[in-house]
């Protein structure tokens, strides 16, 4: 009887095609390698690196939180790659990526004990403050490259050497697209799992959540680590793509603000939104910079206003329109 009722209710999401869409999404972007010019591939790659940070912010947004300092983890991931390359002479991309993930994980694990007690604007600004502390430390430390940062040259993929000038190559492109796809898959599973649903409960009603027995601080700590590690991975991939990192391009508050901007533009309805939002933003910025070099920020501002007015739940809501 209950099953019949269930069918009658036409529960949303029981038959889920998200994973198929994700595979199609990845295949489409892989095929772009053969179809689009280099500058477009470069923009897509960079959008995916930044998209990982937005994906991390999506997780926080699901719990009703936002961080104005996620550039810090983007920076940490990037510096982990650059410093491992320069100081340990490790050139294997997969080892470098592992270091970036580890850096994000370890730092967010310890900082998480501190930030998990805060909510709303305090959580957001605390992360901004931490990000600016990191920025200050790097800028004032010559051994950390100061404002010049670090560069990396030749890399190896499974011991296969790729020369510096061929930084954007099929290996780096595939690495970025496939790793991003893997992270999207993990986040997608997480959001559907009981563990992911705890975030919705916390966002909706923290009092009821704690009376149900949900360990609010532990859940927020967990999601903070997850989110920060994604941002660090994004930073690590970005350095592999660009070959250079500076504190101003990563840990400075404007970078974090940009991530929040794209996160709001994207919304938190599904895992595709951060990537689409990031792509949209990078292309708009590229074209706005090209055609309106002195007023491109205004174009970006107008885009955000239009997004808020017509897609208040973000770009993701285009795919999540519920049938009445």
């Amino acid at each position: 009887m209950a099953v019949k009722k269930l069918e009658r209710y036409k529960m949303r999401g029981l038959i889920n095609k998200d994973k198929l869409i994700l595979i199609a999404f990845l295949f489409t972007f892989i095929s772009f390698w053969f179809l689009l010019p280099d500058y477009a591939i470069n923009t897509i790659s960079l959008s995916f690196c930044n998209g990982l940070v937005i994906l991390g912010l999506l997780l926080l947004m699901r719990a009703g939180l936002i961080s104005f300092g996620h550039g810090m983890y983007y920076c940490l991931g990037g510096y982990a790659v650059a410093m491992t390359y320069n100081f340990l002479q490790i050139k294997e991309v997969f080892v470098l990526i592992a270091f970036s993930i580890l850096a994000g994980f370890i730092v967010s694990f310890f900082l998480g004990f501190f930030v998990r007690r805060f909510r709303g604007i305090f959580f957001a600004m605390l992360n901004l403050a931490l990000s600016m502390i990191l920025f200050g430390i790097i800028v004032k430390s010559v051994s950390l490259g100061s404002t010049d940062g670090f560069g990396i040259k030749d890399l190896t993929y499974f011991s296969h050497i790729i020369e510096d000038e061929k930084r954007l190559n099929i290996f780096s492109y595939l690495l970025i697209v496939l790793l991003t796809g893997l992270m999207m898959m993990i986040v997608m599973n997480f959001l559907k799992s009981p563990s992911g649903k705890m975030l919705e409960a916390i966002r909706e009603n923290e009092i009821r959540s704690s009376y149900l027995g949900i360990s609010i601080n532990k859940q927020i700590h967990k999601i903070y680590i997850f989110s920060s590690t994604l941002a660090a991975l994004g930073g690590g991939l970005m350095v592999i793509l660009i070959g250079h990192i500076t504190p101003e391009d990563t840990a400075y508050w404007t970078r974090s603000g940009e991530f929040v901007f794209v996160a709001i533009l994207s919304g938190s309805l599904n895992v595709f939104a951060p990537l689409i939002g990031s792509l949209f933003f990078e292309f708009i910025r590229s074209y706005a910079l090209f055609y309106f070099p002195n007023t491109w920020q205004m174009i970006i501002g107008v885009v955000l206003i239009l997004g808020i007015l017509y897609l208040p739940e973000g770009i993701g809501s285009i795919f999540n329109k519920r049938k009445k």
Partner: protein
């Protein structure tokens, strides 16, 4: 003895919310709590459930001192509560509210490799709602914020019952509900609660409801318990008539 409160005191600045409260509750008892606004009923509830810490005194549960337990610990040992203003997940559907609660009750807060909104979980949620005579058909496509007050109250109480507690504290379960609905809702709730052998402590302003559904009544005034007996005896006490129900 299931629950025992000894010499409990709580002050908010110069206001005394609990003044030397002593209280005992046995298994399967249904106790009504009455008192005027500000008498200390909800504070009493908040202290027992760990939301507030008392200034002094002790709370014993099955002989164990739980005075310093936090909200989660209190919930985990089997004391649950509902709220005067329903505390539910407003933007989620009715079934999703139940499913999340059940997942927590089954200790699956950290489960990653399963689908939270699975067919099986929906089926269980529907069964549970039907057990409480909740009109599933009527509210199937609505988010909780779209429900009428009576349905939200029932949902809030139902959420509190999931996980099979031994004690449940209901804070004004019929407030904001029409007179016609009150009796039906209380009857449905208490019938379902009895099936689980849960002891009930419910705060209520409607004396008819208290008289009809409670086996024992505790009357609060100015943070003190001024009466604790069978309903007929409590309602005939002069101080209860004077300070709470009127008639003197």
């Amino acid at each position: 003895m299931l629950l025992e409160v000894k010499n409990l005191n709580k002050k908010f600045g110069s206001v005394t919310a609990a003044n030397n409260i002593n209280f005992k509750m046995n298994e399967n008892e249904i106790i009504g709590v009455i008192g005027a606004n500000g008498a200390g009923k909800t504070t009493f509830c908040n202290i027992i459930t760990g939301y507030l810490k008392p200034d002094s005194g002790a709370i014993l549960y099955e002989g164990k001192n739980i005075t310093k337990f936090n909200v989660q610990e209190i919930k985990n040992i089997g004391i649950h509560r509902s709220f005067q203003i329903p505390q539910v997940f407003e933007n989620l559907g009715v079934l999703e509210n139940i499913i999340i609660t059940e997942l927590v009750a089954k200790n699956k807060q950290n489960a990653f490799f399963e689908d939270a909104y699975s067919k099986k979980n929906y089926q269980n949620a529907i069964k549970l709602l039907e057990k409480f005579s909740f009109d599933v058909d009527k509210f199937k496509d609505k988010t909780v914020k779209e429900l009428p007050q009576g349905a939200r109250k029932v949902l809030d109480i139902l959420i509190a019952i999931i996980g099979k507690p031994k004690v449940i504290l209901l804070d004004e379960p019929t407030s904001g509900i029409s007179t016609d609905e009150k009796n039906i809702i209380m009857k449905n709730i208490l019938r379902a609660i009895k099936e689980f052998n849960i002891s009930v402590l419910f705060i209520e302003h409607d004396m008819e409801i208290v008289e009809k559904f409670s086996e024992r009544v505790v009357a609060f005034y100015n943070g003190e318990i001024i009466a604790d007996d069978k309903p007929s005896k409590v309602f005939n006490q002069n101080n209860v008539k004077k300070f709470i129900i009127g008639g003197l």
